[in-house]
């Protein structure tokens, strides 16, 4: 299964959610799984969570995967508090992602 890396910016909230969503979907449209590089991302709002949620649903529908890599402590905290931590496939580095 081929994968492509998509790097998220510092924040994922209502301002850039559409842009980031389109970027991720573009990769899925090509039939590739997405490795989401979240090393720069320090904050995800509930709108941001919906982007991740939707991306995962679209990926699953196409038989593809969405991997979250390098999730920061702050974002992991947000995911813990909202119960999303076990929902996504998270890895510390790109190398750890199963290919």
């Amino acid at each position: 299964m081929t994968t492509e890396v998509y790097k998220l910016s510092e924040e994922l909230d209502s301002f850039n959610s559409q842009e980031e969503q389109d970027g991720i979907l573009a990769i899925l449209e090509k039939g590739q799984s997405v490795i989401l590089d979240m090393t720069a991302c320090k904050y995800v709002s509930s709108t941001g969570l919906r982007v991740l949620l939707y991306s995962k649903k679209v990926a699953a529908a196409k038989g593809l995967k969405l991997y979250l890599v390098g999730v920061s402590e702050e974002v992991m905290d947000i995911m813990n508090v909202t119960g999303f931590d076990s929902f996504f496939d998270t890895y510390r580095t790109i190398d750890e992602v199963p290919r």
């Binding site: 509930s46 969570l49 919906r50 813990n80 508090v81 909202t82 119960g83 999303f84 929902f87």
Partner: protein, 390 residues
């Protein structure tokens, strides 16, 4: 081509003025030329022929010609003045009309321009501008009226939302052991936070939730979730079933993926046994001398996955315990410098210890003082439950 056409006389005031001035100068020069020439030659000849006296007599003709040129000078000046007035007067009239329009009288009448030159163009442009302004003002009036209607409707919707939420615990058979207070202050007219509580068969059912998003879409999901909780909890006593039912409904047709963080519990008012489920919501605080968070590791919020599994936890309340539930609008309330209220300040305010209503009032005050002038960015929702074993 005729000369007038070449200079576009009919369409150009400037050309007309130039032509008149040229005519003016030419006539003056010509007349002066003739007069001068004739006078000099005649005088010299008369002097030669008849001597000086005769020469002076001949001046009378020249004088007459000089008079003629003087008269034509006056007439031409009169024409020039008329022409210049023709130019200035309409401009003055246009200035007056512009002043009228600026005052708000869009219907002010423009001066009549009979010529087909730049003045006519100016009048035409002015007329178009008046028309355009008039239309825009009309459109603005309609937009404002529509806006007013929408604001009225939002206010009505806000009232409906508020009336869906129980405010205080009304005295009944359990007043001796139970006290509750709930409050929701939405950021916009309508919001996505919710809470509920009611007593049934010696048990208190309660919940608190937060729909992802704000405004009308979140309010719609809020209303659906709240009414479903109420309906299901009235006949279904099992907390897991309640949550799973809510989750199943939220997952159905959830194209916009609006999920709901949700905390629901059942408190046995005789024994103090609390059974609860946490669907991605902030853990409530429990106060009974000391303050701690209720052990409630969050599962997935409602609406994320229809396979989601929800753990039911149990906790036995000590007598004289207060349960404080809230949404992230409280901890994330921000000052203008984007500093958050946070859990520490929340706990410090809880430490002051008070009855349910006072507690919520204290907390609201603390948040308002902290936030200062910054606008409210999220719904502020709190639910306080106090139970005594009596």
């Amino acid at each position: 081509m005729k000369i007038p056409d070449l200079l576009h006389i009919r369409e150009s005031l400037a050309s007309r003025i130039i032509l008149w001035v040229v005519l003016y100068v030419v006539i003056i020069l010509t007349i002066s030329g003739y007069v001068g020439d004739y006078f000099v030659r005649k005088f010299i000849w008369e002097v030669q022929e008849n001597g000086i006296m005769h020469a002076i007599a001949a001046r009378r003709l020249s004088l007459a010609l000089t008079m003629v040129s003087l008269i034509s000078l006056i007439v031409l000046t009169g024409q020039l003045r008329r022409l210049i007035h023709k130019l200035i007067d309409p401009l003055t009239a246009f200035t007056q009309v512009a002043d009228e329009v600026a005052k708000g009288n869009l219907q002010a009448t423009l001066p009549e321009i009979k010529s087909r030159d730049e003045m006519q163009q100016l009048r035409h442009s002015f007329s178009i501008m008046q028309q355009s302004l008039s239309e825009q003002m009309e459109e603005l009036k309609q937009v404002n009226a529509a806006k007013g209607r929408i604001e009225g409707e939002l206010q009505a919707a806000c009232n409906i939302q508020q009336s869906m939420l129980p405010k205080a615990y009304l005295p009944d058979a359990y007043s001796h052991c139970l006290d509750i207070c709930g409050q929701l202050i939405s950021a916009k007219d309508v919001g996505g936070d919710l809470y509920d509580f009611f007593v049934s068969n010696g048990k208190l059912f309660f919940c608190i939730g937060d729909v992802s998003g704000k405004g009308v879409p979140a309010a719609l999901v809020m209303a659906m979730t709240l009414s479903q909780f109420r309906n299901v909890a009235r006949y279904e006593g099992n907390i897991r079933q309640i949550i799973q039912s809510l989750n199943a409904t939220r997952c159905e047709g959830n194209d916009t993926l609006m999920f709901v963080t949700f905390f629901a519990g059942v408190l046995d008012l005789e024994t103090g046994l609390l059974q609860y489920c946490n669907a991605g919501h902030n853990k409530p605080f429990i106060m009974n001398g000391s303050i701690s968070e209720l052990p409630a590791k969050p599962d997935l919020p409602l609406g994320v996955s229809d396979d989601a599994v929800y753990a039911v936890r149990e906790y036995t309340l000590q007598s004289d315990s207060t349960l404080f539930l809230y949404t992230d609008g409280l901890t994330e309330a921000m000052t203008a410098r984007r500093e958050q209220f946070g859990r520490e300040r929340l706990q410090n305010t809880l430490r002051k210890g008070a009855g349910c209503r006072e507690l919520i009032e204290e907390m609201t005050l603390a948040v308002r003082q902290f936030v200062g002038d910054a606008p409210q960015s999220d719904d502020l929702t709190m639910l306080a439950i106090h139970w005594k074993n009596e």
